[in-house]
Symmetry: C2
Amino acid sequence: MRWLKSCIPTLKENPHEAEIPSHRLMLRAGLIKKLTSGVYTFLPLGFRVLKNIERIVREEMDAIGCQEVLMPILHPTEIYEESGRLDKFGPELFTVRDSRKRLFALGPTHEEVITMVARDEMKSYRDLPQCLYQILTKFRDEIRPRYGVIRAREFIMKDAYSFNEDDESLDKTYRDMEAAYGRIIRRCGLDFRTVEADSGYIGGSESHEFMVLAENGESEILSCECGYGVNLERGTAREGGEPRGEERAVDEPYEEVETPGMTTVEEVAQFLGVGPREIVKTLLYCAGERTVAVLIPGDREVNDIKLAGHLEDAGAVRFLEPDEIKNLTGGPVGFSGPVGLPDGIDIYADPLIKSHASMIVGANRADTHLRGVRMGRDFTVTRFVDLVWAREGDPCPVCNRPMAQSSGVEVGHIFKLGDKYSTSMNATFLDRDGTGRPFIMGCYGFGISRMVAAVIEQHHDKDGIVWPMSVAPFKIMILPVNVTDETVMEQALAFERDLEDRGIEPLLDDRDVSPGVKFKDADLVGIPLRLTVGKKLREGKVELFFRAERRIEEIPVDDALERIIRQIGT
Amino acid sequence: MRWLKSCIPTLKENPHEAEIPSHRLMLRAGLIKKLTSGVYTFLPLGFRVLKNIERIVREEMDAIGCQEVLMPILHPTEIYEESGRLDKFGPELFTVRDSRKRLFALGPTHEEVITMVARDEMKSYRDLPQCLYQILTKFRDEIRPRYGVIRAREFIMKDAYSFNEDDESLDKTYRDMEAAYGRIIRRCGLDFRTVEADSGYIGGSESHEFMVLAENGESEILSCECGYGVNLERGTAREGGEPRGEERAVDEPYEEVETPGMTTVEEVAQFLGVGPREIVKTLLYCAGERTVAVLIPGDREVNDIKLAGHLEDAGAVRFLEPDEIKNLTGGPVGFSGPVGLPDGIDIYADPLIKSHASMIVGANRADTHLRGVRMGRDFTVTRFVDLVWAREGDPCPVCNRPMAQSSGVEVGHIFKLGDKYSTSMNATFLDRDGTGRPFIMGCYGFGISRMVAAVIEQHHDKDGIVWPMSVAPFKIMILPVNVTDETVMEQALAFERDLEDRGIEPLLDDRDVSPGVKFKDADLVGIPLRLTVGKKLREGKVELFFRAERRIEEIPVDDALERIIRQIGT
């Protein structure tokens, strides 16, 4: 391919809208062009990377026996009514009416469509397991599209769906898929963690995300040397075994302490000469018709996603307003506590507070706290539920070593769906006993366009992208320093021809621009090998530049071809 | 690939909704599954054909130097306002609003998006010519989706766009593309015609369609042995040179003849003892504010598409109502004529009537015609314009031999756009003189999903599909007649392994169903070669069946692999 006629519009300056390296570099290296917020064209270089990733994904899906299909983008919304999922999507679902006023969604994910295929076409346990996948553009009306292709409104995803006869078979497919995802990400040259994750609106009993480690990743994860990992959103806070709270005699009653104007944990702890962990925070929420008091250790924060999950049936969750708190407890904000709350208020407590021998809590009265309060004796917990954010240093649930926190880009997400869709959509097969049973399903997403950005997040330097060989748009580029020098250009074209004859397509920079511009652009687009044909040609030599190491080898012209082929082969 | 776990849901019965062979067979052979009207899933077998066609298209596009890109599906409608095309699309455009109420179209074609890329990224004549293409799902809200994937609402198209510096360069790209399309269609094993076509809402100065000949094709074409072809909609009616009409002295006035109750050409011709070609029909239309009388030979029909094109500026075209005709001409329907029409009525005549020495026309009075009317003397034609349908037997405009009419499926359409989009969207480059000039553009569509149906239209028999080797989902299938016979099954699996080792993926029918079902299904899905492993195995033989010729070769087991490889290689 020749640079001049190939639409590779490099930019000298960093585009102001790009906040993270991959977004900046995808725009600067001419991989993508924005059409509108969250909607991009992949230009020739970007498209080639996309195709390389697609190829790797296909090979690994085929290797575990998945069959490729292509489902439609237009989904009649009736199918979401059937699965009961229409409301769950909310405003992120793009919808369109046809000329007969029938409503369609632009497919964000395809559980319903594929379940309809299985319902009609897979009749017997003999047909199972089956796993069908596709690579298709998906749509989500992100409220705040950002980070280029990482959070786009139109993006390319591989989605696979398995139909199994039982949980054991599903587990096998799930493990096969997990292993295949690992191979895909490693083949793309990336370091990653597999983490436990929430199932979100997809649903199901178990799910894992595949996080490519990246400083600017949107997702936070906790992971342990033992291999365990969890999405921070979902991690359960755990602590070492020692009990907290002051040692007091069991029958020693709590005492009132004056804490004038102290509404924060830090102020109270400092004033009373204890650690914040000794204090238990009481937060008051309203969810639909219900009022809930939430108890967590003073040094932790409530994870709103978890809380909303626990109160899902009640309705949207919000903090009580100051006047509501005053009316309810008698005290102002900052002095709420679990002792003496009116009837009808549920008390949800994080299990972490079980380790408190005694605790300091608000007194539901201005400028007053209670010290030496005991759970069970002075108040009753309605439910113990996981409520707080886990954090770096929390012990690993597998091996108890402290976990580390890191950022990542989520490139894959797999789910055990069980019979969620097959039951609601009445999709059954005849099992070995001849009775109809719902399929046990799994679904498996992988972000193809997002992966392009993930690769760059892990593979770039101050000069530009540093493509791994496996996904690079070209494995080698030929850079004739001066295209008006006939000898140089003839040699460059000879290399192009020879490489093509050997099945390697090079990128030839045939632009008549200064060497400075050419070298800068070459660094920016980051082709792994660069063959420079320049002044040294008079001495019968060319330069082979290794982009990742920034290392130069001087090579006799006649040896160059074999040297390159050897390098690409490895 | 194994049949049992691959979702190949064959049907015994013809689905009632399918009107033509390709639609019937795509459903029956389990290539596609309908989600809703005009919206289909490609199942594994259908998907493999799609991929084969895509591969051939890619190879031919790359071979003529096109670069592949991927543009978005969501198009902000502002870009159509810029090109002036928003109204032209009409109700076939699917539109969707995002959560901020901004309007998007689902891309039916991508001239605007690519012109924006060129406007920003191609600066100089040195960057030209460039041709960018993509393979992407497109959307059109067809009022009446039909024929399966042939007229679908969601379909896969290859669209290419060229940017040239002048007409000469465009012409070269256009010819390259025309040749590439020919190679694509021939590689898919199809007989086709290239025909002159209308540019429709795409616009531009020249366009050609590529018609795969098929009895049930939606398009009608006229073509000549010399290679010329034209879409019937656009063909110009021509006739042999001899003059028509009765020979009369130049100064002999016309005469009134009584034609009681005769409102059709046939009745008048028979009554007067002349051929229908001697009569000239006068049809009265209203277009917006204008009234137009249309004159055509009695044995021809008005082509409404052409008439509407000529009157495009005036407004929608309709016939005058009987009472309007009476008020205007004084005569009833069926007796209109060009002589003595009131002022202000334009007379449009097809050039064919120039060959009439004299003519018989309606008298604008009940039961009366005029005989011996002369154009120029008795009435004046406002404009001669091409108005009638061409038909089989009309002489070829290139070589004058009579043309034949046939049906076809339009699989490709190429257009010379000129500066239509670049001027309206202000997309310019710096030419050799350093002045800014609009790009000269071409665009080139090819229907990928439609091509699957076109192949079947030309390649099927009463038993099912007969795939050409180049696009077949599998080149060979292995059919163990009885999978419970261990010897048979072992040999079948050995063939599967050996073929895979040689880089050929076979389809293995591993179902435990009757031989009758297996053979019937095998005929239906139409894999070119079928290796039957059955009773003859005891004699050390297997059968190789050639689907197209329905020919069987008995082959010693040990020779089978090489025989197959030789066959596939040819």
